[in-house]
Symmetry: C2
Subunit: 190 residues, 2 copies
Amino acid sequence: MEAKEVLKQHIAKTASLTDEQFDYFFSCFKQQSYKKGQTIIGEGDRVECEYFVLDGCLKSFYINDDMKMFILQFAMPTWWASDYNALYSGAKATISIDCITNAEVLCLTNADREKLCSELHQVEHFFRWRTNKGYVATQKRLLSLMNNDARHRYEALMEQYPALYNLVPKHLIAAYLGVSRETLSRLYNS
Amino acid sequence: MEAKEVLKQHIAKTASLTDEQFDYFFSCFKQQSYKKGQTIIGEGDRVECEYFVLDGCLKSFYINDDMKMFILQFAMPTWWASDYNALYSGAKATISIDCITNAEVLCLTNADREKLCSELHQVEHFFRWRTNKGYVATQKRLLSLMNNDARHRYEALMEQYPALYNLVPKHLIAAYLGVSRETLSRLYNS
């Protein structure tokens, strides 16, 4: 399916745009290709865009002072990713994004999203609901992490991203769950 | 300040409504008083409203199978609270909300919020940005928790809610930070 149709079907689940409105909406996106391992957002970067994944898999992550990596999100097709704190506030990136596989994405700048939201009420509606869903998902993950229940976190991840098991190296899944590789092995094998 | 003016000033930071539009917006809210310790949302409830705090302090929390409490949020004046997963999806509440102090709140039903968002573009704009900020704050807290940095979590909480130190019993602050009371004492005294 071509990029335009993928985005159209994604938006249509939440918002009603006429063909003309959607053409205008789509015209604000820029398609980009990245290679496996390539960085999209690096720590300290100015962040101007958010990314809609068409193909492949990204990870957004944070590396602490001890060089330990924490994965905030895997972004697969029709998922959105950015360092939203940096994107919204103008602060420099603290979250990095790179490509687990080769990837095709559509980029939308912060300025263009705000312009579109202001011009088209249905676009604002779409982005409100997209963030509502992200907010609820992040709250659930926070509670699960506070509850320190690795088994539940593992099952929730596999339910959310069934394709992940084969796609993503195990050490990245451990970094998402916040467990050691040994704990992850026990979860896989039980 | 009366309730209407508090909400008006809160909304005006993000959205431009005419006086007439704001009057209509405000007419959809219902003011309610709660006593210290009273439950607003109990586990298993159907959740129909979100709550804008005018006065007092609420906590939203989760209790696990071992009866251990995890605090998701303290809600002080001009903060919003609900079990958003339940509110948006129609599922029963897994998060409870009760009152740390006597509290005055404005309630808005899910149906009225959606109606207002659909009728008034600026209201949709307001709620999009409110959730954007909540999403970013929850992501930051998630990373901080993954990084297991109690000192940083404590400092972030005190920065976010400076009044909390005197207002909230220490065992609730420990339940927010996900640390023992002993660890919290060390953070307070260092």
